[in-house]
């Protein structure tokens, strides 16, 4: 029985829960002066012959009235005027089954199947009502109106104060259509200019550092685990997430911090979902995601989907959206220029950067000897512009609005920390990977317990290169901030590092972005 405040069934008369989609049919003729004004297409409530309301205490009467009402409506098509209204969102408009359902002719219900049902399932998923694992394979809904889809429709209807009968007709589709219309813009949101793209990147990086909750935001695994230990019921954790987590509905994780868009999934929805979270990642992939989102905004969702993954058109796997640390293996390939600028390493505050530039600052060149599992070998940072005092500011994941000086302060503090469990786990995983305690790690190993992992480090020390040994003297136990830029270049794992600002600036090439924009 419908509860108070709930609208009547989909196929019944009554007020729509939201304004119906605008009419797409021919516009009514303008009446001649003095002529009778024709009835316009209904803009708000759709009305049908009145159904007498039963007395409030007559439950049987109410049930009968509803049953009669539903039967009547399902048999009675909408008037010609009512049929002038069509679905109008990019997702549903023009689909014959859905347009028919929008006219209750007939409504979609259990056992229906086809592309229209698949679009309905996509809409339900985007609205947060998943039809269940049995209805979705590799991220693609099956297009079959089964029990899971019916349950999702009922839940959706309940949420939107519709009659929760699991049948999709005029009113349910009106709400879904309105949600799709209200959803992300499909056209470019910003100009394909260096300034507009840069501003979007800067805003995106700031946004990535705000508002994380147990079910949203971009998190470092270390931080999420810390919250999980305090409140395991609220912050559910899976050790597998140490390698990364991002919207499983949109992505398959194919490696450490490496995600590929599922087949039949919208790339624009995917990158939004990645940034919305819950996502477990680190600083580099977060900046890659922010940069990809700037590309999406500059070319529009439609064009982005057509190039990098769509619900409705086939995009080859190798071209589909990928988010990983290696920017050149993502949609950024060819859209970003990796340019090296020459600059005095000590001249902080005067870097030749533009808002949105992706920059990098190395910590002390030997940071990784002391902290092989540390997160502070350097700082991936987006340039934000200057503050009222004229200081240049940068942002990375977990650090918003920092001067280069402040970044150096933090890198010094990170260097001067004692080694922790993550450092020992990293050494053991790299150089003693066949040790039984590493091959089959226990909970203390997985939790990076410093006492336990340090014990294993001592046990397998002979396998670990001497420069990593704490008594080797190869690295200083503590440093001062001046040491970061004064220390000579040092090579670890075939990568030479020199502390401080790396004059390797990544910046969008507007002309390449413009090529992907839709032609007006």
């Amino acid at each position: 029985m419908a509860s108070a405040g709930m609208a009547a069934p989909d196929s019944a008369e009554g007020h729509l829960a939201v304004a119906p989609a605008p009419a797409r049919g021919p516009a009514p003729a303008v009446p001649a002066a003095g002529a009778a004004t024709p009835s316009p297409a209904p803009a708000t409530p759709l009305r049908r012959g009145p159904v007498p309301a039963p007395p409030p205490d007559d439950r049987l009467g109410a049930l009968l009235a509803r049953a009669v009402d539903r039967r009547t409506l399902q048999r009675k098509p909408l008037t010609a005027e009512e049929r002038q209204l069509d679905l109008s969102s990019w997702r549903y408009a023009g689909d014959p089954d859905l347009e028919a359902a929008f006219d209750n002719n007939p409504a979609l219900r259990r056992k229906a199947k086809g592309l229209g049902v698949q679009k309905l399932q996509h809409g339900l998923i985007d609205a947060g009502f998943h039809p269940g694992a049995a209805s979705v394979t590799a991220g693609i809904p099956d297009g079959k109106f089964g029990a899971g889809t019916e349950a999702a429709v009922r839940a959706f209807q309940g949420k939107h104060k519709l009659y929760a009968d699991g049948v999709v007709g005029r009113k349910t589709l009106a709400v879904l259509d309105a949600l799709a219309l209200e959803g992300p813009a499909r056209a470019p949101e910003i100009e394909a200019t260096a300034d507009a793209i840069g501003a979007h990147i800067a805003a995106g990086m700031t946004s990535a550092n705000e508002g994380a909750t147990e079910s949203s935001g971009v998190w470092y695994d270390y931080n999420y685990v810390a919250e999980h230990k305090k409140n395991p019921a609220r912050y559910r954790w899976d050790d597998d997430w140490r390698a990364g987590l991002a919207s499983p509905s949109h992505f398959i994780r194919t490696g450490w911090m490496d995600w590929r868009l599922r087949k039949g999934t919208s790339a624009s929805a995917g990158i939004r979902a990645w940034l919305k979270g819950l996502t477990i990642a680190e600083c580099t992939t977060t900046i890659v995601a922010v940069e990809i989102d700037a590309l999406r905004a500059a070319i529009g969702d439609d064009a982005f989907d057509s190039h990098f993954g769509s619900e409705t058109s086939a995009v080859p796997e190798k071209e589909r959206l990928r988010v990983c640390q290696r920017g050149r293996e993502t949609p950024l390939l060819g859209k970003i220029e990796w340019s090296t600028v020459s600059t005095d390493p000590a001249e902080a505050g005067k870097r030749p950067v533009k808002v949105g530039d992706w920059t990098y600052f190395y910590n002390h060149p030997k940071y990784l000897l002391k902290h092989p599992g540390g997160a502070w070998q350097g700082e991936n940072a987006v340039y934000l512009g200057t503050n009222p005092s004229g200081q240049q500011l940068f942002s990375g994941l977990g650090a918003t609005g920092k001067t280069e000086d402040a970044l150096h302060d933090e890198m010094v503090k990170a260097y001067n920390l004692e080694r922790d469990g993550a450092d020992y786990v990293s050494l053991l995983s790299t150089y003693a990977s066949n040790a039984p305690e590493v091959r089959k790690p226990n909970r203390r190993f997985l939790d990076h317990d410093v006492d336990y992992t340090r014990g294993l480090y001592e046990k397998y020390k002979a396998r670990i290169p001497k420069q990593y040994h704490e008594e080797s003297g190869e690295y200083d136990e503590t440093i001062k901030r001046e040491d970061i830029i004064s220390a000579p270049e040092y090579e670890i794992d075939k990568t030479k590092r020199k502390g401080g600002f790396v004059g390797d600036i990544k910046r969008f090439i507007p002309a390449e972005v413009a090529k992907l924009r839709p032609v007006p």
Binding site: A346, N387, T400, E404, D405, D409, V412, K413, L417, I484
Partner: protein, 185 residues
């Protein structure tokens, strides 16, 4: 915890780039009865390390915090920075969400030192003379201190540079120590 210079209460934390966390406190500061005086708070917490009375800074930055009445906070940046407020006689100020960085899993309780000084000298010169901004706070003020974590709101700065070192000296310093429970931080 309440002391001669004021009171500090832990109100929450924010996790930043690990293992760095930002502990947030409600801090109430009381000025001397008969003269203006600097009050100095740590911006990084290091258990077992009190605040040194001689130190260096590479940059001094001023923030005008949003809230009721005027409150200016100067952050003296270094590996272990401090925040300094110039309080008029009889002042009582409250800072909501004052951020203090901590590196690693926070302890259950922390000892936080608050210094006060008659003068704060930068390279031998009063800090007030180095900044093109009136640094004196109003006698009563309540402000949101969370912008201190984000340098986008800096309105005035001196110094700066990766090899800069300015000496910082406190004249006639005194210290109060506050034990603060950090709850389940």
């Amino acid at each position: 915890m309440t002391g001669a210079l004021g009171a500090i209460r832990f109100t929450g934390l924010r996790r930043l780039r690990p293992p760095r966390v930002e502990l947030r406190f409600e801090v109430t500061l009381r000025g001397a009865e008969d003269r203006r005086r600097w009050v100095i708070l740590p911006t990084t917490l290091r258990p077992g390390h009190g605040q040194p009375q001689r130190r260096t800074a590479h940059t001094v930055e001023a923030y005008e915090l949003p809230g009721t009445n005027r409150m200016v906070v100067c952050v003296l940046r270094s590996e272990d920075g401090v925040a300094a407020l110039l309080l008029p006689a009889g002042a009582e100020l409250t800072l909501d969400g004052f951020p203090i960085a901590f590196w690693g899993p926070p302890p259950a309780e922390a000892e936080i030192e608050i210094l006060s000084a008659a003068a704060l000298l930068i390279d031998g010169e009063p800090l007030e003379d180095r900044m093109a901004l009136d640094l004196l706070c109003d006698r009563e003020a309540v402000a949101d201190a969370s912008p201190l974590e984000d340098q986008r709101t800096v309105v005035e700065s001196v110094g700066g540079g990766l090899t800069t070192r300015m000496t910082v000296e406190l004249v006639d310093p005194s210290t109060t120590s506050h034990g603060v429970a950090l709850g389940d931080a």
